[in-house]
Amino acid sequence: MIAQDAVRLIWNSVYHSLGKSLLTALGIGIGIAAVSLLTSLGSGLQLHMLDQFSMFGTRIIAVNPGKDITHGIGGLLSSVRPLSLDDAQALDSLPGVAFVVPVVQGVGAIEYGNRQRNSDILGVGAQMSKAWQFKVSMGRFLPEDSNSHSRPYAVLGYTMKQELFANTNPLGKTIRVGGLRFKVIGVIEKKGQMLGFDMDDIVYIPTDKALQLFNREGLMEIDITFNTATTSAQLAERVKRVLIERHGDEDFSITTQDEMLLTMGNVLNVLTIGVAALGSISLFVGAVGIATIMTTTVRERSAEIGLLRAVGASQRQVLGLFLGEAVLISLLGGVIGLTLLAAIAAALSLFIPALPLALHPFFLILALLASAVIGLLAGVIPAYHASRLNPIDALRAE
C-alpha cells in the first residue's frame, strides 16, 4: 500500500465520525495544552529567576564568613573570626580580579530634616557601582577612600531619594543615618525588586562607616568580580589560598555565581519537570480515551476489518491502518492543544502581563511529536486486536 493511499483511507475513517474523533482529540488537546502551558510557565519562571540572579553580573564570586553556610545564614551570624576590610583589600591585587566589594547590611533610621524612614543600610566599597553594574543617575558614587577613614558620604537608592527629598535635589544635602551625619553625593537609578527585596529603598554608605554604625567587627560578604583573564574556579582557588594564608584556617566559604546559577537551574529544572509531570496526568487520561474509543471503533468496524482481510489486506496493513487512525486523532489533539495554548497564552499575556511565559518553538514541535507518540502507544492494543481478528468471525459480525 502506498503511503498516500494509507493516509487517505485513515483520514477518511477519522473524518467519517468527525464528532467522535474531535471529542477524543479534544481530550488529548487539553492534556497537551496543560503540559505545554505548565512547561512554558516553568521555563519562563526559570529564565526570570536566572535573570534576577544575574542582576549583579555573572562573573562574580562571593566570600562569606563561616566554614559552612548550611542554613544560609552564615554571614548574618556573629563569628569569632570575621572577614575584615583588610581581607577584602588583600584580594584586590589578585590577578584577574576586576572589582572587590566588601558588604555589610543592616537596617536603621535615615533622616533628612523632619522626614524619617526606616530601611536598609548597605555598607559597600567604592567599586560597587561598577562591580554590580549599578548606574548612578545623579551625582557620583562613593569615592575610593582609605579603608578605615572613609569620608561620610552616602548614595541613595531611587525610592529612598523620593521618600526623603521628593523632587528636590538631594546632592550636597546632609542626612542622618543611624544618628551619624552623611553627605548625599549621588542617587542610583531605579533597579526594581530582586526576589522580593526592594533594591531602591536603600542607602549606600562606605563599608567602614557601616561597621561602626552596626558595631560589627566583620563583613557579611565580599563580592569579587573578575575579568576574562581567569575562570571562576581558578580565581576561587586563589582567593581561598590568600584567605587561608591570612587566617591560618579555612573559616570562610566561597560561592561562585556560575555554581549558584547551576544549582538554581537544576532546582528549577526539576520543578519544571515536576509540574509538567503533573500536567501529563491529563495527557495520560487522554491516552486512555484514545484507547477506549479505538477499542469501540475496532468492535464497530469488525465487519470492515474482515472484508479488508478478504480482499487481501495483510495483518500488518490492518495494524497500520488502525494505528494510523489513533495517531491521526492524537495529532489532531496536538493541533487542538496548541491552538488552546495559543489562546490561553494570549489571554494570560493580556490580563497578567507580568507572568513569565516562555513559548519555545522547539517545545511546540515536541508537543506535536509527543501527541503522535501518545496516539501510537494508545492505539497499539486496539490496533493489535484489529489485526488479530479472525476474518471469518469478523465478516460474520453484524
Binding site: 470492515e304 480482499v311 487481501g312
Partner: protein, 234 residues
C-alpha cells in the same frame, strides 16, 4: 496428452471446531479437484460445511488437517502475509451482505484491493474504469453505498472482487438479499465472468441457482455427498 494440473486440489482436508466439549467436523476429509474455468455450485443444509469450504478455498481459514494446493502450491505452510498476497492476487469474494465500506464511494470500494496491493494511482485508473464500464456503473461510481439499490451494491462488490483479475471468484449466497430480478441480473453477470475464463464457485440455498452451474456439489455433515457434472461447459 498431458493431463492438465488442477487449479485447486484438496487432499483429505479437515476442519474441526471445538464447541463446548464437543468436536464438530465442519469439513471431514474432503478430496476435491477444480480445474480452471469451472462453474461450481455448492448446496446443502445449514451447518453442512458450505461456508467453511468457501472460506477454506478463499484462504480465510486454515485446515486442521490435510492439504490445500492452489496452483500446485501447498498453502498450509504459508505465512499469514503469504496467504494475504494469494488472496489479493488470485481470489475474489462476493458476499450476501455485500460488505461495502459505507464511507467510501462505489468507485473507491472497487479501488480498495488495488490500494492494498500498492498499485500507483495512475495505473489504477484504467483498471477501475474498465471494471466500472463493464458493470455499467459509470453514472453510479461517485455514489456512496447507501445511495445504491441492492443490485447495484452487489455489482459494486463484484467489481471489487474482479478488479485484480483473479482466477477464482467465490460467491456466498450472492443473491440472498436481492429480489428475484436483481438476483438474476447478478447471477448472469457472474456467469458472464465465468464465460470469460474465471473459475466460479457459488454457495447457495436456491436450487434454481444451484442448477445453473456446470458442476454441482452437495454437502452433508462436512462431506461432499454428491459431485456431479450436470452439463459440460459450453
Amino acid at each position: 496428452m498431458i493431463e492438465p494440473k488442477a487449479m485447486i486440489e484438496l487432499q483429505q482436508l479437515c476442519r474441526s471446531f471445538q464447541i463446548g466439549d464437543q468436536c464438530v467436523h465442519a469439513l471431514d476429509h474432503i478430496d476435491l479437484k477444480i480445474e480452471g474455468g469451472e462453474y461450481l455450485s455448492v448446496m446443502g443444509p445449514s451447518g453442512s460445511g458450505k461456508s467453511t469450504l468457501l472460506n477454506m478455498l478463499g484462504l480465510l481459514d486454515m485446515p486442521s488437517d490435510g492439504e490445500y494446493l492452489l496452483n500446485q502450491t501447498a498453502t498450509s505452510q504459508l505465512s499469514e502475509e503469504g496467504r494475504a498476497t494469494l488472496r489479493r492476487e488470485h481470489i475474489g469474494f462476493v458476499f450476501q451482505s455485500y460488505h461495502l465500506i459505507p464511507r467510501l464511494t462505489a468507485r473507491e470500494n472497487i479501488e480498495l484491493p488495488l490500494i492494498l496491493a500498492g498499485i500507483a494511482p495512475k495505473q489504477r485508473k484504467p483498471l477501475i474504469d474498465k471494471v466500472i464500464t463493464r458493470l455499467a456503473l459509470t453514472d453510479r461510481a461517485a455514489h456512496a453505498p447507501n445511495q445504491l439499490s441492492g443490485g447495484q451494491r452487489q455489482r459494486v462488490a463484484i467489481g471489487r472482487a474482479i478488479v485484480m483479475k483473479p482466477q477464482l471468484l467465490l460467491a456466498d449466497e450472492p443473491t440472498g438479499n436481492l429480489d428475484s430480478a436483481s438476483g438474476r441480473e447478478v447471477i448472469e453477470l457472474l456467469e458472464e465472468l465465468n464465460d470469460e475464463g474465471i473459475t466460479l464457485l457459488v454457495v447457495t440455498h436456491d436450487q434454481s441457482i444451484g442448477d445453473r452451474a456446470t458442476r454441482e456439489l452437495k454437502m452433508i455433515d462436512g462431506r461432499i455427498a454428491s459431485d456431479r457434472v450436470t452439463r459440460t461447459a459450453s
